[in-house]
Each structure stands twice: as C-alpha cells, then as structure tokens.
C-alpha cells in the first residue's frame, strides 16, 4: 500500500500554523526576557552573597534542572493553582514555567560569565572610584555579556523549541496548531513536514539575530 502525500488541506488550515508560530515566538521572547532577569539577578546574588543565598540559588537551579520540563509544565498549571486555591490561564502558566526554567539555566551561564570577567578589569573600575553598582552596570555586566553571547544562542534556541511543550496544556502555539490539523484531517506526515521547517527556520533567525548582536558588540581584533 502506498501513502500519497497531499498538502492541499494544509493551506486551508495554514492560519492555525501561522498564529501558532507567532504565539510560540511570543512565549519564547517573554520567557527569555524574564528568564534573563531572573538569571542575572540570581547570578549576581550568588557571586556576591553569603552562604544562605548561595544555598537557595543552588537549590533552585538543581530543582529546575533535574525535573523534566514537561512535569514542570503540569506542576505549575495543575499543581500550584489547586494547592493555592486560585486559577490562571494556560498561557500565563506556561510563561511562568518557561521563565523559571530559563532562569535556572541562565543563572549558570551568567555566573560563569561574571567569573570570567578579568579581575584586573574590575580592579581598574575600583581604581577610578566606581561604586559596586556602577562597576556592575558599566564594567562587569557589559564585559560579561560579550563573554556569554556565543553560549546564549544555544540556550535561546532550545527555549524556543521548548515552547512546543505548551501544547500539552492546550496553549494554541505551533505544535498545538499542528496537532489540531492532524486530528481534523488525519494527515500527520504532511503536517509535520510543514511544521518542522517552521521551527528550524525560526531557530536560524534567532541565531542570525544573536550573531548580528555579537558583531555589533564585540570590537574587531587587532590584525
């Protein structure tokens, strides 16, 4: 028996894929942004903090990194509202989950980046009289950013792909849209043939954007 590929129906439902892709990108952007804030704040707290701070940050990172993301998605969506006696939408719930997840991974990246800022450069900031916050804002952060930027691409692309897990709690992102078309047309192969490149190409676009940022931020080397 032979399977005949037929893409006609996809065009009829393509709107589901486009709106899904848009939502996936939005989920990724918002979660990455919040995750960066969490990650940087905790990295600074960890590197400058006492034993208790270090322990708390380490506990958060270990917990998030050692629990499957899928389980976290369920936990935040079903577990926390039922324990806390309140409700929120699936989309908000997923953003919270992915932000916490992103934060835990980015703490590690930023912490290593802050450690890699040459001590002498920070000393130079002290020597001209910068206060600790000024050193963070004008020396440690910008130097760190240039160190971690290459490593961030991988993390950001993974996070973008991880938005597909939102489909399990019916957030209408790209994978959910694809699933919906599949269920309604029984054309599984065609749907995935179309959807996979949408992830791939968006991933490349993220990569290209970060490469552009790197080129803009990192000065040329002396020949």
């Amino acid at each position: 028996m032979q399977y005949h590929l037929n893409f006609n129906f996809i065009w009829r439902y393509s709107e589901k894929l486009w709106s899904g892709l848009l939502l996936s990108i939005e989920l990724a952007l918002v979660s990455i942004l919040i995750g960066c804030l969490i990650g940087f704040a905790l990295a600074v707290a960890y590197n400058g903090g006492g034993r208790l701070t270090r322990w708390l940050v380490a506990a958060y990172v270990e917990f998030i990194r050692n629990v499957p993301l899928l389980l976290l998605v369920y936990l935040v969506f079903y577990g926390i509202p039922s324990a806390g006696g309140f409700a929120y939408g699936a989309t908000e719930s997923f953003v919270v989950t992915l932000s916490l997840y992103a934060g835990a991974h980015l703490v590690e990246v930023f912490r290593a980046g802050l450690d890699a800022v040459p001590k002498g450069v920070v000393d130079a900031g002290k020597a001209i009289g910068l206060t600790p916050w000024q050193r963070l804002a004008h020396v440690r952060f910008p130097v760190m950013l240039r160190i971690v930027l290459p490593a961030l691409s991988n993390t950001f692309i993974s996070l973008f792909k991880d938005t597909s897990l939102a489909s399990v709690i019916a957030v209408p992102e790209l994978t959910y849209g694809a699933n919906w078309i599949k269920t309604n047309t029984f054309r599984a192969v065609e749907v995935w043939i179309v959807t996979a490149p949408m992830y791939l190409i968006t991933g490349w676009a993220i990569l290209a954007a970060l490469r552009g940022l790197e080129r803009a931020l990192i000065p040329r080397r002396r020949a």
Binding site: G120, G129, L130, P219
Partner: protein, 256 residues
C-alpha cells in the same frame, strides 16, 4: 622633605598565614616620585594595592592627604571602611596596572570618560573634551576611537595612564607599567611618566628600569621580604648600596 601627602606607618598585611608586608614605613611628599624596587615577591604590588584600598591591610596605617585609607575611627572605634567610602577614596588615587586592564568593551576615549562621567559627574561633552585632552597628552589623539584590542601594548598603557590622570588624582600609583611591553615600546610609555613627574604629579612607582628610577625618582625605597631595607636618593642608593641584599639585587639586575 615637602609636606607629606602619603604617610605609611608600620604597615602589615598577610595572605592567609603568609606575612607579605611586615611593618613598612614610607612617606611621600607632595610632588615627589618615590620609586619602589625589590625582587619579585617582595610585596611591592601588595603595598600599592593597600594604598588605594584594593587590598585591606591588617595593621598599621596609610594616610593620604590626612585621611586613613582602609579604616575609620581611632583605637577601639577603628572599623574597616565600607565600599562606598572606599570608592570615594580611590577616586582621588590613580593607578596604572602592569597588564593595562583597560575596559575591553570601551574605546580609548570611553575608557577615559567613564570615571569622569560616573565618578566626577562631568557631562558627556565635558568628559569627552577632557578625555581628548589627555589622549593628546599621551600622544594618542588619533586613536581615540580604537578599542583596546586594536591597540599595541604601549598604546594601551598610555590610555591606562590617561584614564588615571584625567581623574586629576592627588596621587598616582604605577605598578611595573612597562614590564609587559616589548622593549621597543617601553620608551614611549616612560616618556609620558617623565613628563608627569616634571609637572609635579606625586607618585609611587614600582619599576625595574633603573635608569628611569634614577632620572625620575626623588627617592628610592628598596624592599625585600615585606620590609623596607634601604632608602635614599637615587644617585646615592643605586650607586653605593649599603646592605648586602640591595647589592645582590642590583648585581642580579645588571646581569640581565
């Protein structure tokens, strides 16, 4: 000697159980250039870093323009200063580092401007004008927009000097500022320092360049094992060392 700008008394500092400074006394008068010499590991860098509070000292005192650097209060009330006070004290003490330590994400002009804007409170335009003035003074007027990675070692070090002196510090600390440079680049950097000394900048200079020490130094201090062994006028001390340790140190230098 002129009125003392810096007075260091019985300075002691340990790293863990290693005593690195073991009771050092040094005075530096206004407009003086005191040259510190001594073998590697004798505590010269640590001494300079204590003077601008990059290291905390354990005992003794360092006064710059009458103000104790690392501590506030006297006797039983004596407490280490907090970061905020230390920042204010450091702003008036310039330092130039052996490995330049320029801010890699800023170009030459921005390296000089940062402290002027954030610490001295100059506007961007004022900071830019003063930065360009000092870059011109160190012969880098045409390199203002270059990043450190685009500059030679000698050029980077001259930016380092411009960054320090643009803050108009009371005191300038120079820690072996030419020892990471290729020999042909040493001269351009030392020429800048000679000019600053001639203009009356007070400084403490750690160096292995003995000719420079003789020409620029108003006084030479020889350190060994965390103590001051000998002190005197350059032409006297470097020609007629009294202690065996200084004799040995100078003869080792000559062999290189």
């Amino acid at each position: 000697m002129a009125e003392a700008l810096v007075s260091i008394r019985n300075l002691k500092k340990s790293f863990g159980r290693t005593r690195v400074l073991d009771g050092v006394d040094i005075d530096v008068g206004k407009g003086e250039a005191v040259v510190l010499i001594g073998a590697s590991g004798s505590g010269k860098t640590t001494l300079l870093r204590c003077v601008n509070a990059l290291e905390r000292y354990d005992d003794g005192s360092i006064r710059v323009d009458g103000v104790e650097v690392g501590f506030r209060g006297e006797g039983a009330e004596r407490r280490p200063r907090g970061e905020r006070e230390l920042s204010a004290i450091r702003a008036d003490i310039g330092m130039v580092f052996q490995l330049f330590n320029l801010f890699p994400h800023l170009n030459a002009r921005e390296n000089v401007m940062l402290g002027l804007q954030k610490v001295r409170g100059l506007t961007k335009a004022e900071a830019r004008e003063r930065a360009d003035h000092w870059l011109a003074q160190v012969g880098l007027a045409d390199r203002a927009e270059n990043y450190p990675s685009e500059l030679s070692g000698g050029q980077q070090q001259r930016v380092g000097i411009a960054r320090a002196v643009a803050m108009e510090p009371k005191l300038l600390l120079l820690d072996e500022i030419t020892s990471a440079l290729d020999p042909e680049l040493v001269g351009e950097v030392l020429a800048v320092v000679r000019r600053l000394a001639a203009d009356g900048m007070t400084m403490i200079v750690v160096t292995h360049e003995m000719i420079f020490a003789r020409d620029v130094g108003t006084r030479v201090v020889f350190m060994d094992g965390g103590v001051k062994v000998e002190e005197g006028a350059p032409r006297d001390l470097l020609v007629n060392p009294r202690s065996e340790r200084l004799k040995a140190f100078l003869s080792r230098l000559e062999m290189h």
